[in-house]
Amino acid sequence: MTERISVRRAVYEENDRMAESLHGRLAKDGVFTVNILGGPGAGKTTSLKQIIARLPRDTVSVIEGDIASDIDTKALRELGIDAHQIDTGGDCHLNVPMVESILSGMSLKKGGWLFIENIGNLVCPAEFVIGEDIKLVISSTAEGSDKPYKYPSVFQKAAAVILTKMDLAPYVGFDMDYFASGVKSLNPDAPIFPVNARTGEGFDAAVAWLKSLKAKS
């Protein structure tokens, strides 16, 4: 005889539980964790360098997630940044066990910052919490103003959007109103910071916002 049983359990329950526990441990040390999401070539690492340049260097640690290279980690280390590499070996997103494993070999500054650059992908990383305080999306004008409409999930979960390559906007036909309206529909509270990650223009406002959020956490 067949019997129907009610389950109502989230498929992500274990991941969410692990993420919550990791976040609790990081927060206990006053570490503010930022999960950086964006497509390949959006300017995630370049933006990260600009953000870190505006913070006390010795308060910052970085985890770089990549599928199969440590170019970004090397570049950050050359700048004297405490950067560590997760090579996912092809996996499309970082998960809690990967982060926990790399953290076990790191010494985070109490009251400092942890930036985790996720795999360049606008789909999968949006689905998984990895212990962060906030998700920060890096989107570029060159990717087009329709990104919030095509990848709603990542924008829905973002605490803020850093919009890079503003200098290219006129050349790629970027429609700021359309982009901003899409972000607002998905996430009315998320500010958009237009920047040029090569010159650093616009990052003062983004970092001031990050600092205020950390102070409140």
Binding site: T2, R4, I5, R8, N15, N95
Partner: protein, 117 residues
Amino acid sequence: MHEASVTEALIKIALDEARKNGASRVTSISLVVGETTGYMAESLEFYFRSFSKGTPLEGAELKLAYVKPKIRCPSCGKLFERKQFSFDCPDCGTPGTMTSVGNEFYIDSMEIEKDGK
């Protein structure tokens, strides 16, 4: 996409429920899947068939109920489904606000069999 790791998580929960409820076999698993998650039925089924072999879940049917994302119009309050490349209200044209409808991903229920009953 990452349907493989997600299917593993799904199987873990289903096996836990089967054990707790004394099931000898699970005949179906009903999943609620919000469309913003982007999970494809074919892909979930493919991994499910492979990973469930030799467990009480082998041969169980995956029943997927998809939920379309819903957007609320801040002006007229209408709850609507989006058109491609727009979040605007179909009635009054105001840009709508995304709700949490469409983000679901959970096992709703299962059909199980128990030995000797």
